[in-house]
Amino acid sequence: MDSQITLRVDGAAHPLAVDTRTTLLDALRERLRITSPKKGCDHGQCGACTVLLDGRRVNSCLVLAVTVGDAEVTTSDGLAVDDVPHALHRSFVEHDAFQCGYCTPGQVCSAAGILAEARAGWPSAVTPDVAADTVELTDDEIRERMSGNLCRCAAYANIVPAVADVARAEGVRR
């Protein structure tokens, strides 16, 4: 059964018909051909499809397109403003925080998500004081929070400093 919806992606509105079974990921990749988010497992196990939904990171393979409503979908490509790369884009390139690049847009969206989570004071499993107002993105915090994004090339040891540099610039790391 098809439903008529409008997806707001990276600042543009896209009216389209989707099967009610269509995931947000497949709506983006297969219907709109917006291929910045990647499919790596289709089961929420790898994180390659991570996008920001109203600023919060989600596995877009676990979201049905018909449930998105008016929420703003932001892909890694959409983090660039007026074609100027985001600080995370530059930092990932500078630190060579990827190899094949397939998991990378998801890593970048996840990194953008954890910067916002730290600013909001959301604790993780390794946060020493879960009641604190803000969280500092230490290396251990970054490792923990980025562990939902698998990188089979194993660029992890470069992803941590790539995120750390931006966290420092944004004031969520000393």
Binding site: D19, R21, T22, D26, R29, E30, R33, T35, S36, P37, K38, K39, G40, C41, D42, H43, Q45, C46, A48, T75, S76, D77, L79, A80, P85, L88, H89, F92, V93, E94, D96, F98, Q99, C100, G101, Y102, C103, T104, P105, V108, I142, R143, E144, M146, S147, G148, N149, L150, C151, R152, C153, A154, A155, Y156, A157, N158, I159, V160
Partner: protein, 702 residues
């Protein structure tokens, strides 16, 4: 340094980096075929051996949006001569669980997947035979191993020397089936224009794929074009043709539309290869000073009924240490399993786990520092081929690594360091991988303005080839990177073998250097050193192996030092820090090379602690066939890793002096972790992965 070397060695950012971080570099499915794309989904066999007795596609065919259902009864006949599992849907016989028995083509992926569930299949099945054991009576010696290595090597009187040895080790090590699991699932998108086929594909080298399509569809090489500029990881699984390329092309021909087949993650466990499990018996004999008198490394592994793949597991033992009496053997069991294939450092990865664990055990018996034991057994020449080394700096890697890691003064005793709940230990292992190169052709064109186009069917599966080849070309042409446009990943480009065997830069880079030399010679001799107004194009070729390969033994080396912490209550294992030092010859791009070495080592940590495909011997399937249950290292599993390399080059290997870096990092890494685990806990785990349950298993036995 001459000006020729100004870019080679520099840590240049990836030229494909800005597109990759934003997600705009087009991988296989993301290319534009110029028309709407139909989707293919497959039905897989639920038995390992038998024959399809019933297959009813009618309910699937009746679903709106289904374009075709392909079965062995109606699928187009493929040409003879396809090997292994490539004759897809050509027979009712089933040879492994997961074999494709039907395929649906539909307007959308949702319809295709739903239609798969509407196809009923019955089988006349026999019980699966999937259990590997050294006691099987049907083990056999293959004619030769992968990459042409001899099956066995026997020098001297090994059994006599072992019996006479003052100190000896006799231990059996096991590594499980492993799956590559690149994050981009194998994907093939096919479009026919008349009798010409275009395939946008995830592979390690378009030329590797073309021949099977030519054979399967009765085409000329000129009628097939395979395009793969960006590949989302591979590690060996994308080196050769698998059923996905054949199916996409077959289905596109049937429905007359572009068809994409993107495997599911679960299908990645049966349709695109795996690393064989191994059972390895290691026997070492030594004198009281720790000098080896005998080495015996006997390997048992599996292959498929329909394809022989004989992994060269004991080959590192043929080169790593001196000993007068030595033996390596490989025996295979043919099982009802999918065809195994190459996976990152095939041979060295499982083989070095066994050899380097055994060396550690020998050091323990001798009461000797394991670094010193390795140094005492450094061979002056290749101990089996009796040839000089081109370059070999293993001892320097061990000494440099020991210094960087802070190895000096290490207490040899196991299980005596604790920090809170953590048992702490350190371990070492060597690394080695062969240095080779392969035939490759190249075309370089220059226009009147001095802008160069370098064309070669090389492949960047994440290695950094886009950038490193551009650096090599710019230096060889005496220009800057901005003046060089590189074209790779397209079978229309001049021939090159795929990415594999750590031969990429050695092969493609050398072909570029040779072709650039020809071009500059022509410019100098015929055009006064300036590009002519109408431009100039030169074709060049690297014939193959180094002319010194027959007279010298060529290998890369390394040494890993690892700290392991084990939670004494839960058995949880952590690797907080590691140091690796490599002798890999010239490093072309310091930034991307470090990433590759880091990635290789980290995959070794993953192998040591997490990875293993579990076979259900009753029903014959891989139980943990997804990324939630086949565990790979995550960000939180990897600690501080110090990567460095010796400033050496190997001019006998190739004119760039490089040895290859794609695989050396994983070799020996798992042994270093296991050795550190022993030092932390007194427990010797000889069967990977080292999961927490084995801590309690060993505690119970000790």
């Amino acid at each position: 340094m001459t000006t020729m070397d100004r870019l080679v060695g520099a840590g240049v950012d990836r030229i494909d980096g800005p597109a990759k971080v934003r997600g705009t570099a087009p991988y296989a499915y993301e290319q534009d075929p110029g028309e709407p794309i139909a989707h293919l989904a497959v039905v897989q066999s639920t038995v390992n051996r038998g024959r399809i007795s019933r297959l009813d596609p009618s309910r699937a065919e009746a679903l709106p949006g289904v374009l075709a259902v392909l079965t062995p009864a109606n699928a187009p006949r493929l040409g003879k001569g396809l090997a292994s599992d490539l004759p897809v849907l050509q027979s009712l016989d089933v040879h492994y669980q997961g074999q494709v028995v039907a395929a649906v083509v539909a307007e959308t992926s949702e319809i295709a997947k739903a239609a798969v569930g509407a196809i009923a299949v019955g089988y006349d099945a026999e019980p699966p035979d999937v259990a590997l054991s050294p006691d099987r009576e049907d083990l056999y010696a293959p004619e030769k191993l992968m990459a042409g290595f001899a099956t066995d090597s026997i020098i001297g009187d090994v059994d006599g020397a072992l019996a006479a040895a003052v100190v000896s080790i006799d231990a059996t090590y096991e590594t499980p089936t492993q799956h590559h699991n690149p994050i981009e699932m194998h994907t093939s998108m096919a479009r026919w224009d008349g009798d010409s086929l275009t395939l946008w594909d995830a592979d390690q080298g378009p030329h590797n794929i073309v021949n099977d399509l030519v054979t399967g569809f009765g085409l000329d090489a000129g009628q097939v074009r395979v395009i793969s500029p960006y590949v989302g990881g591979a590690f060996g699984s994308k080196a050769f043709t698998h059923p996905n390329q054949m199916l996409a092309a077959m289905a596109a021909r049937v429905v007359g539309r572009t068809v994409v087949y993107e495997l599911t993650r679960q299908q990645m466990f049966s349709l695109v290869g795996h690393r064989t499990p191994t059972i390895q018996r290691l026997r070492l004999g030594a004198d009281p000073e720790g000098r080896l008198t005998a080495i015996s490394h006997e390997v048992v592994e599996h292959t498929a009924r329909i394809a022989e793949f004989a992994e060269q597991t004991a080959t590192p033992t043929r080169v790593l240490y001196a000993a007068p009496h030595r033996r390596t053997t490989h025996r295979l069991a043919r099982l009802d399993v999918p065809p195994p294939t190459i996976m990152r450092a095939p041979g060295e990865t499982p083989g070095m786990f066994a050899l380097e664990s055994a060396m550690d055990e020998l050091a323990v018996v001798l009461g000797l520092d394991p670094v010193e034991l390795r140094i005492r057994n450094e061979p002056e020449r290749d101990p089996e081929r009796d040839l000089p080394w081109s370059t070999r700096n293993l001892v320097e890697c061990l000494r440099t690594g020991a210094e960087r890691f802070g190895w000096a003064g290490r207490d040899l005793r196991p299980g005596v360091r604790t920090e809170g709940r953590w048992l702490v230990g350190t371990g070492v292992a060597s690394a080695t991988y062969p240095t080779r190169r392969r035939k490759a052709q190249c075309r370089i064109s220059v226009d009147g303005a001095g802008r160069y186009v370098v064309e070669i069917d090389g492949s960047d599966i994440g290695t950094g080839a886009w950038t490193a080849l551009t650096q090599i070309a710019a230096d060889a042409l005496g220009t800057d990177m901005a003046s060089v446009e590189l074209r790779i990943g397209d079978s229309r480009l001049p021939f090159a073998g795929g990415a594999g065997g750590s031969t990429g830069l050695a092969s493609w880079g050398t072909a570029i250097v040779f072709t650039a030399r020809d071009l500059r010679k022509q410019l100098d001799e015929q055009h006064g050193g300036q590009p002519p107004a109408g431009g100039l194009s030169v074709d060049g070729e690297l014939p193959g192996e180094s002319p010194h390969a027959k007279t010298h033994s060529m290998h890369a080396y390394g040494a890993h030092f690892v700290e392991v912490r084990v939670d004494r209550d839960s058995g949880e294992v952590r690797v907080p820090r590691a140091t690796s030092v490599y002798d890999a010859g010239t490093i072309v791009n310091a930034k991307t090379a470090r990433s590759q070495l880091l990635g290789g080592f980290s995959m070794g940590v993953s192998m040591a602690l997490h990875e293993g495909s579990v076979t259900d011997e009753r029903y014959g399937h891989y139980v943990n066939h997804d990324l939630a249950e086949y565990h790979v290292a995550t960000n939180a599993d990897i600690g501080e890793i110090d990567i460095s390399w010796l400033d050496v080059d190997d001019q006998l290997a190739n004119p760039i002096g490089l040895k290859g870096i794609g695989e050396i990092g994983i070799t020996g890494a798992a042994a270093a972790v296991a050795n550190a685990y022993w030092h932390a806990t007194r427990l010797r785990i000889r069967d990977l992965p080292i999961t927490p349950d084995k801590y309690f298993r060993e505690l119970g036995e000790s």
